[in-house]
Amino acid sequence: MRIKRLTVSFFAILAFLVLGILIAVQLKNVNTKNAQSEYAEKDLTELQEQVMALMRENDSLSEQNRQLSSLISSMGEELSGDNDALQVIMTEKAKAEAFAGLTDVHGPGLMITVDPGQDASVNAKTLLLLVNELRASGALAISINDERIVAMSEIRDTGTDKPQIVMNGNSYEATSPFTVKSIYRESDINRGLQLIQSLIEQLGTASDIVVSNGDDIQIKALSEDSLANQPT
């Protein structure tokens, strides 16, 4: 009788033990499974995006190489008396000058004014944040106080008693208002406007920053005597 009782107790304990373990395993699985599958899918999606981006880049490079080969071949013809290549070179020059910021440009875009107010000054960090946000939202050309912002343009603070901001080697009083102009593709203007408005909210600076869009913003070329206009 006693043996029977012990056997029953043993089976009961074993069954409850197995049940407990199974419930614990199941609960743990539910928690980890969600997290794991989320991470695995995220990693896979990121990898897919990288593959797609590289495919697009390679397609673009192939097209560029095809165009370059064609240009080289037309220049070879120029050397043997064909005049078309000179026209191609002039177009290349015009493009290089426009891309370098060496030509006046105009078009639809945004106008931002940064007014430091009384007894305050604008700092270079605010202007850098605005310029970087304009670029990220698709600005094609940018100027600050008619100083064309090009590839190697510096924007930095200088002076303590009389703070100034240096751009392209030229100094501007940091206590005066700054005007930032930018030209966009029509399709990018609203995005640019939203991003700049959002940045202004985040900045919450003492300066009064106002942004507006315009149909024909005029941006001057990089000045001939500017420090940024001296290639190494």
Binding site: L54, Q64, N132, E154
Partner: protein, 268 residues
Amino acid sequence: MNLPAFPMKNRKTVKNPNSSGAKTLPAGNRIRTVLFFVLFLFVGILLSVTIREAVLRGQQSSTLSGQYAQYQKQLASLSSENKNLKAENEALQEKRDELTDTVLNEQGFSALAVSLNKARALAGLTSLTGNGVTVTLNDASVTDASAGSVSQQGLIHSQDVQYVVDLLKSCGASAIAVNGERVVGTTFMICTGPTIRVNNSRHPVPFVITAICEPDSTYAVLTADAYLTYRASGSVQIRFDRTQELTIPAYSDTAAIDSVCSELGVTS
């Protein structure tokens, strides 16, 4: 299953309605039998669910890892193709520049050749070689982080890369590249997942920023910079090197140049 019964005090017995009355089952035994039945039923269900889940997870995991391996293979092949295309692109651009010079000089337009070269250099369309600095930014290694995984503070963000680029510009750099991507007038850096997009390419860590500039003064500015010192104290890895004979590649995305120029009124 015929289970043994416990001996019980005041045991009550019930008659089995289906039996002729000769065999009776004690009430305690019936309850125990029902309880054991329910218990084993639960164990059985849970066991089958657990096994099924394990099999499904195994299948799902092997499908995901298969897809992952396939994409990684594709990525490696595309990266190799990308490297070759870039090398070809660079060689073609050099050939084009040489031919352009030859054509212009032969036809007596040497001044035009000079201004074309100047515009190209300012636009970042020519490669440049000289002395400078190399700044390497990398995420904190897991062993550096206290929690075992890298926190946001331990990751390099696009703002960090942009900060270094802006600092190098203010030091008078004449050409800058981020992981080989030339910084031009339209260059921007934004975080896209674990990578940073520079121009039209995505780059994972480490970010190697190279700049042609005066090495000693720039190195001094970089090492004394308060923001970079603060970031380095937050366990991200920042390294500065003075480098001799650096080559910064030319910007070569002609499709992007054409698009910008066409919007700005310059057409082919």
